[in-house]
Symmetry: C2
Subunit: 223 residues, 2 copies
């Protein structure tokens, strides 16, 4: 077997977006979609969409486009969503509660099956149907629920400690919302979402847009 070449990182990231849009088009009642239209909905060029989707075997049909239900199931398979994934959340502050009540998870194959916290006052409360357990239960929860992913939503000071606990409990991937880069051993996937970094990046993008506009108008009346 040819062991199909690995999908490039940026393409792989876009696959999640195609899946989300594909599902939403399907929900609207559409049957097919063109690379043109799919790209337009996501701000991605049609050529890029075709190149990305060509990594899936035979996803589209020439002259017609992509059959949405085929596309959705191929993307699901590619993204590893044919089987369900279980995640455990640590920290039920505002971010944690936002995650627990994030509606789209209910029908997604990736779900948060348990919520832990170390604050005695938080333990026993229910959020989005799940009861908060003490962090001490972590290892037991991971085994009991076959948990593979961990979500960190604790303050910056405890983030690394929680990451170590998760790794120790046998988790394979971590999504971290604390504003610090966590360190994980080789072979464990980690990704970070930091609201502050996102807002700063936005500010920078606005600056660059502004600069680009000024440059453009300066070019209209050059030396």
């Amino acid at each position: 077997m040819p062991l199909r070449t690995r999908i490039p990182r940026p393409a792989a990231r876009r696959l999640s977006l195609y899946l989300r849009e594909g599902e939403s088009l399907l929900a609207i009642g559409a049957a097919t979609v063109s690379s043109e239209r799919l790209g337009a909905r996501l701000g991605i060029s049609a050529a890029q969409v075709r190149r990305d989707l060509a990594y899936l075997a035979q996803a589209g049909q020439r002259g017609v486009g992509y059959d949405l239900s085929t596309l959705v199931s191929m993307l699901s398979r590619e993204l590893g969503l044919e089987r369900p994934w279980h995640a455990v959340l640590v920290g039920v502050g505002n971010i944690g509660r936002a995650l627990l009540s994030y509606a789209p998870f209910r029908e997604s194959r990736v779900s948060i099956v348990a919520a832990l916290d170390c604050d005695p006052a938080a333990i026993g409360q229910r959020w989005g149907g799940r009861m908060v357990e003490p962090v001490a239960n972590l290892a037991a929860v991971v085994q009991r629920e076959r948990v593979e992913l961990g979500v960190i939503a604790v303050p910056i000071g405890s983030a690394q400690k929680v990451a170590d606990l998760l790794v120790g409990a046998g988790i394979r991937g971590i999504l971290n919302f604390a504003p610090v880069e966590i360190v994980v051993p080789e072979g464990i996937a980690a990704s970070n979402v930091d609201f502050g970094v996102e807002l700063r990046r936005l500010a920078m993008d606005v600056m660059q847009e502004t600069a680009a506009l000024e440059r453009a108008s300066a070019n209209r009346r050059p030396a």
Copy 2:
């Protein structure tokens, strides 16, 4: 003047991280940092760090490293953080409240100066020191507080509507937490954070890690 070449997209995104780490090292009492160490804290190669920081004029000193206070102020300037940026939040559900209580904003130059919602029950409540106002006030708030950025934390169904309102009110950049790609006119910066997409990506990363490990062990005993 040579109109210094634009900083590449990926490098620009990393700049936010260098700033965050730089500030945190400074807080610890460090005076300088090497590309080696800075990179190690972020999982970025030293060569990459040097290449990125070289976009700032004369940021480091050979044989010594980067002076942290210089570095932090250069990065702040590059990211447009020399002056404060004001953002308005629309939607005070769980995500909105998480943003309002996100501690690092308090000392950052990007701050959320107002919170709006369309639910009468939410209006008048206080979160993180800010009182929730009706969305109808949007244009007035934008003018009053010189707001340039908008944060969307409303359900999927109203996200595009809110985006249009923000653009209409004169906002220059939008950070969207609803799980849909919003459409904005040319010249307006937009970026999206979707918890579902992030978790799916994590699941995919875990799959790929697993596949890579299997491939590696298969190679140890090839045909």
